[in-house]
Subunit: 253 residues, 2 copies
DNA sequence: GAGTGGTCTAGACCACACC
DNA sequence: GTGTGGTCTAGACCACTCG
């Protein structure tokens, strides 16, 4: 019989589906447009809904789609560039930083943070909650851990918690001379409280930026900021925040 | 593994399962240890395999587990800190960089890269492939795009492609004075070729680091590096690569 | 070959947004 | 209400690793 061409195509359906959808997004849909619902799309492509969802999940992970329960699936705008700090470093709350202090309360930090702060395992520190908004959307939630030793002059008259306390802690922190900082980025999944602040479901993928602030020869504060991974592109360096637009195509080739 | 009752829980099963498993990993398993297989685990927790898998996927995303087809699910070691470049910036291939040049070939860059390089949409550039190894494991794959105008003196005698060509392109690049660089980090999913280099399945979550190198008043080269998101923590700043341990890690039990 | 994780199906019900 | 995405089930078969 004729030579049958080597098939060699164990490419998963959802992967192929993702490619097809990705190309359709580029050519046939505008940003913000609503896609057909998952049941219709699955039927149209002749696959089970679960398979279709696997493709959609990948596209959402890459920031191409946005899905909202009760609403539908929409085409996401390009990721926004979010400046994550200049090389020289600044204290949280100094002029020009994009964070909005929300609250402050004493708490025992997680073990890994306590290790960086060199506090004992059960020692309370000031925890300042802040959020960051870009283009009208919340993009990040932060917990800033400040040991009492870093804000020794903090007025005992101020309220023990609340936004006023948060401002007081930041103000006292600025009295220290910032000697340097250290940053790390990794992938994580949103805890319930962060998910709420970011308007996502728990478990949503986030970029976790851990910053250590050095002053007086030790770690004076630690910031753990969680950014929405679907909508954010973190930018570093002197030109941080500059417009580097990624086209509709970045991964497929 | 006691049967938790506590209804009134709009908390999804897989989420609760993830919490239970996470705590079990902290207290009952050592790094590298093999977990029971998915069918047994699902039966033990009284859920469908798909639900159990949803919990495992999250834990893998957080770098707690490693799953390999045909082998099993193992407890992952803590993420390795990978230095992603100092603030002052260096050219790719200068002394001390952790990349291994693998290959070089001419190709037309993706549209977004072409935009940064300010080359025309169909103009070929040198594409240097490099890989990065840490602790014996491949952690990143890179494509470095170098327009011909940045390496004008490149000897026409050299081979048009291959490792020797890669070294030649890097050498010529160093003749330019590096004026600055610009970096962005975002979440992506591994293309087929990157997945192979990283020993992962296509679609695996990766951290994409895009670096723009400036020289002579323009963008002299662009690097797109994809890091394994499950095993890597990207570190920035002067103390890059320093040990900052995250998470409840357990060495042995 | 046996055992593993990866893919896929065809249903079901739930939580949420909007009318 | 209706319609959406989110969760869950109980199977099936495939691709891979290893003895």
């Amino acid at each position: 019989m004729g030579t049958t061409q080597l098939e060699t195509a164990p490419e998963p359906k959802y992967w192929h589906l993702k490619t097809v959808l990705s190309e359709a997004l580029d050519s046939e849909f505008a940003v913000g447009e609503i896609l057909p619902n998952e049941r219709d799309l699955a039927a149209r492509f002749g696959v089970a809904r679960a398979t279709l969802r696997q493709a959609l999940e990948q596209l959402e992970l890459e920031g191409r789609l946005q899905r909202r329960r009760g609403v539908g699936t929409t085409v996401a705008p390009p990721r926004v560039g979010v400046a994550v700090g200049s090389a020289q470093g600044t204290w949280p709350g100094e002029v020009g930083d994009a964070w909005q202090p929300a609250d402050c309360a004493p708490a025992v930090p997680p073990a890994d943070v306590a290790r960086m702060l060199e506090t004992s395992a059960d020692e309370q520190v000031h925890v300042v909650r802040r959020t960051r908004v870009s283009h009208g959307q919340p993009v990040a939630a932060e917990l800033l851990y400040v040991p009492a030793s870093s804000v020794a002059e903090l007025s005992a008259i101020d309220a023990p918690s609340g936004p006023a306390r948060a401002r007081g802690v930041l103000r006292e922190l600025h009295r220290l001379g910032l000697e340097g900082q250290d940053r790390a980025v990794e992938l994580g999944s949103a805890r319930a409280d962060d998910a709420k602040a970011l308007d996502r479901l728990p478990g949503a993928p986030v970029l976790v930026v851990t910053t250590r602030f050095f002053a007086e020869g030790r770690t004076a504060a630690v910031s753990v900021a969680t950014y929405r991974a679907d909508t954010c592109r973190l930018t570093f360096g002197d030109a941080g925040g500059v417009e580097i637009h990624h086209g509709p195509e970045r991964q497929a080739s």
